[in-house]
């Protein structure tokens, strides 16, 4: 069935899949957000252990989603993989290191003979939570602000940025998205804890910190969104494939693709509704609005970066080297094969859902943890 689709349709289909994985990743980074709150919300060892274990049963999904996001991007848009990872070397390396130290920290934290001590592993979790979110957000922002690179006629990248990607962190718009992701991850974590842990002290503290994180989130995100809507964008001429700057390109994209505009509005409304509800009422369901709201919002941002003849990984050094979903994609054959593989995704989502439901029927309590023999 996929064989009959045009290459351009397949490219759009795969941009949607990659975008979905990216937005699922941002939602699942509540784990990272939570890791920066262990000492803020937990005032004694027992509380901290509950927080760590609550996250510890989910961290692998975030991690796996990140890995799959990378793999899917590689398979569908290999030129992005080659250009961005090879080019913005230092950004990605720091992100990777932050995830390496996370992967062992849950398992090792409370084990006897763990060499470094629990505090160090908690420190690792904090570092992962801070750098993982801020730098991934910063890297994604370059989809709109551009990077400095050129491609030769063999499509090999020459990175012209002085700091192999770290220069992106000097751009205020990139930083704004980085911190939006950071504070959003903390908000999601707070709402997740309120839902997942049965402990009054943590619940009360969570609500207090929801305020504290919502304000900087709103400032950073609204700043980024405003800048995005008024900035020039990287437009691709559908016939000549030449890239040029277009005024209000991303605003135009939203207006020309009203479905995405609606998606963005519903998404932002969902994020805010979940937060506000948890602020004014003692409820555990905030995450059910803010979580899906996050996915819709991020999805909309990814889609306006790549759809409607827009270059999704633009080069400010050489406009014509910019990557589009057309010039960066795999061949029609590979996209077709991978499209069949993508049919597995609903199956995967279904069993994850089933497994989570059967594990999460009850909230985490101190009593349950004391009976558990696999405790982080």
């Amino acid at each position: 069935m996929f064989e009959n689709l045009s290459l351009l349709t397949l490219q759009h289909y795969w941009w949607i899949i990659v975008s979905l994985l990216g937005s699922a990743l941002v939602f699942l980074m509540f784990v990272q957000g939570g890791q920066t709150l262990i000492y803020t919300l937990g005032k004694n060892d027992k509380e901290r252990t509950m927080l760590v274990n609550s996250l510890g049963r989910k961290w692998e999904f975030t991690f796996t989603t990140l890995v799959t996001f990378g793999g899917a991007f590689f398979a569908s848009f290999p030129l992005f993989y080659a250009t961005s990872f090879g080019g913005a070397y230092w950004v990605w390396m720091i992100i990777l290191l932050a995830f390496v130290i996370q992967a062992v920290s849950y398992e090792f934290r409370s084990k006897a003979g763990n060499f470094l001590g629990a505090k160090v592993y908690e420190g690792f979790l904090f570092i992962n939570g801070l750098f993982g979110t801020v730098l991934i957000g910063t890297a994604v922002a370059t989809f709109f602000t551009g990077s400095q690179f050129s491609l030769n006629d063999l499509n090999q990248v020459n990175w012209e940025g002085p700091a192999r990607g770290l220069e992106a962190a000097l751009n205020i718009r990139n930083i704004a998205l980085g911190f939006s992701v950071f504070f959003l991850a903390r908000i999601l974590a707070i709402l997740y804890f309120m839902n997942n842990i049965d402990n009054d002290a943590i619940f009360i503290r969570s609500r207090k910190h929801l305020w504290i994180n919502t304000i900087p989130f709103l400032i950073a995100f609204l700043f980024f969104l405003t800048m995005l809507l008024v900035k020039d964008g990287f437009a691709v001429d559908p016939d000549s494939k030449m890239v040029s700057m277009e005024k209000y390109k991303y605003l135009h994209n939203l207006l020309e693709m009203p479905v995405i505009l609606v998606m963005l509005l519903i998404g932002v409304a969902g994020v805010l509704f979940g937060i506000i509800r948890a602020l004014i009422k003692k409820t555990t369901i905030g995450i059910w609005f803010t979580g899906p709201g996050t996915i819709l919002t991020v999805l909309a941002l990814f889609l306006i970066a790549g759809f409607n003849n827009t270059a999704f990984y633009p080069s400010t050094f050489d406009l014509q080297s910019s990557l589009t979903i057309e010039n960066a994609s795999s061949s029609k054959f590979t996209l077709t094969v991978m499209s069949y593989v993508s049919l597995l995704v609903p199956v995967v989502v279904a069993y994850i859902w089933y497994a989570w439901r059967s594990m999460n029927r009850k909230q985490i309590t101190q009593e349950e943890l004391s009976k558990e023999d696999h405790v982080y």
Binding site: F74, V104, Q156, R164, S330, F333, V337, A355, M359
Partner: protein, 522 residues
């Protein structure tokens, strides 16, 4: 494109990749093998209802969890390193290579990470059967992930199902099933899975033997040894068989690697298999012409028979490839360099013609890349066009030779080792065999060494290729200052080493604690 190649960049990039791959491979084989053994133990528990089997399963599961975390940590780097350090590679073959990585994520990693959570935390939350199913699915997920990454690796060794597209300057997939079911891939997968089993079995025997010596948990230790010895024996025989299959594949697609594995410099008919030997130093070999070994123990004609199924078959040596052997139809490296150079030139000319708008010339040059004759005579050697030093195209013979022989000798030793333990176990004599019990913990490192040596053969034996005959390392590497790579190499080396120390210490501490008593279930 090679005008200003920085060799230290290539070397450090290779070193960094080798470092991550080898650290990763310290932890993965145990995961691959022990998950099956956990599933089998838990199945016995569910079938018999004997809570002792549950205790046993949980004990090994705990050790598995410690090991698993660090395998994950080292794995994420590997995936992204293709992009960060081998970006030209990532574009040149991303159309084929990316797919297995994506399938691995979608099909295997999610399965593994979803059901591992149930395996660890679900004992009191889900039904016995659901839990058992989760343990099996964790094993399947872990091994599926091995399948896909090995398919990707096998494709690098033997690029099939692909065609070069001069417009995009990359290889594009033409047949997915050729990639998936390539004989190299199938063999590699079976051999690797077998090695995981053997390693896990030796791990379990070693630790259980320690318990027997300490007279603790004797019943559990006895059960563990029995299961591990049976599975280990089957797996080690399977390893020998698939190892033989691997050698045949190597003879077919990477004959230079075969020559290096056997330290065979000058090809011959009815070549013997070197059981073990010590290679002569390079200078001596060149001066005295001919003597390849200071000492060797050789089985006559076995190599010819093993590689080609014919005891008198000609097996080519390193020099046959280096200097060519017209009689046997083997091209010399300089000849291949020239032919590959023509293919590279054609690509450059095509790009230039296209840029200058000379469509007639561009079309005729483009046609070359779908012309069977050009593909066979020139493009096949495309990678040889990237360098002008003959020796660059010859792998390091001593490293390949010794690694190969260490692996093989240990592999045969494991068959014997399992037989001995099975024999003692079947006669109920394990407790009395103090020598073997004392030895067993010290045997644990050996399958790790064998397994690492196997990968050294597979990867160093095919240097300089990232993609056999098409893309050498020098053309695959990301162009970046080598200083950056040196810094990341050091960062990774330190991080992995610290984490590995922590892992071993936690593991030892968990072993000393032993299986947990299940309140009330005993």
């Amino acid at each position: 494109m090679l005008q200003s190649i920085d060799w230290s960049l290539v070397d450090w990039s290779r070193a960094q990749f080798a470092l991550t791959a080898m650290y990763h491979w310290l932890f993965v084989p145990l995961t691959l093998g022990i998950t099956w053994i956990l599933a089998i133990m838990e199945t016995i528990y569910v079938k018999t209802g004997d809570p002792e089997w549950k205790r046993l399963t949980k004990f090994w599961m705990k050790l598995f969890g410690i090991n698993f975390a660090i395998g994950v940590a080292t794995g994420i780097i590997l995936e992204f390193e293709f992009g960060t350090n081998w970006s030209n590679y990532s574009w040149f073959v991303g159309d084929i290579f990316g797919a297995p990585l994506a399938v691995e994520g979608i099909m295997a990693f999610f399965m593994e990470s979803t059901f591992i959570a149930i395996m660890f935390f679900g004992w009191n939350k889900v039904s016995k059967k659901f839990h058992l199913a989760s343990t099996w699915l964790t094993a399947i997920g872990a091994n599926l992930s091995a399948l896909w990454i090995l398919v990707a690796n096998a494709w690098m060794q033997s690029p099939v199902g692909t065609q070069f597209n001069p417009d995009t300057a990359r290889n594009e997939m033409t047949n997915f099933f050729d990639v998936l079911f390539s004989p190299v891939a199938v063999n590699k997968f079976l051999h690797t899975i077998g090695s995981g089993f053997v390693l896990a079995a030796i791990f379990i025997i070693g630790i259980s033997a320690w318990f027997l010596l300490k007279k603790r948990e004797s019943r559990l230790a006895f059960r563990s040894i029995t299961i591990a010895a049976i599975l280990g024996l089957l797996a080690s025989v399977h390893l020998v068989l698939t190892g033989d299959g691997s050698a045949k594949r190597v003879a077919e697609v990477q004959p230079m690697k075969l020559a290096a594995m056997e330290g065979l410099y000058d090809g011959k008919e009815g070549a013997g298999l070197v059981g073990f030997g010590i290679l002569a130093a390079k200078e001596k070999r060149e001066a005295e012409t001919g003597e390849e070994f200071i000492f060797k123990f050789e089985m006559p004609k076995v190599l010819s028979w093993m590689a080609y199924g014919d005891a008198n078959h000609f097996v080519a040596g390193v020099n046959d490839f280096k200097n060519g052997n017209p009689e046997r139809g083997i091209l010399s490296i300089p000849e291949k360099m020239q032919r590959g150079g023509i293919a590279r030139q054609a690509l450059d000319d095509y790009k230039r013609a296209k840029a200058s708008g000379d469509t007639a010339r561009a079309d005729s040059l483009k046609g070359l890349f779908s012309d069977p004759e050009f593909l066979e005579n020139n493009f096949k050697y495309f990678g040889y066009g990237f360098h002008d030093d003959v020796n660059y195209f010859i792998p390091h013979v001593p490293i390949t030779f010794y690694s190969f022989h260490i692996m093989v000798i240990l592999g045969f030793g494991f068959v014997l080792y399992f037989l001995i333990f099975l024999f003692f176990a079947s006669r109920g004599e394990l407790q009395k065999r103090k020598f073997w019990l004392r030895l067993a913990p010290w045997v644990i490192p050996l399958p790790y060494i064998a397994s690492q040596a196997g990968w050294v053969v597979a990867e160093l034996g095919r240097q300089p290729w990232t993609i056999q005959d098409l893309l050498p390392t020098v053309a695959a590497v990301t162009r970046i200052d080598s200083g950056s790579v040196i810094v990341t190499f050091i960062l990774f080396a330190l991080t992995f080493t610290v984490l590995a120390i922590a892992e071993v210490k936690i593991m030892l501490s968990a072993i000393k604690t032993g299986p947990k008593n299940e309140g009330g279930t005993r």
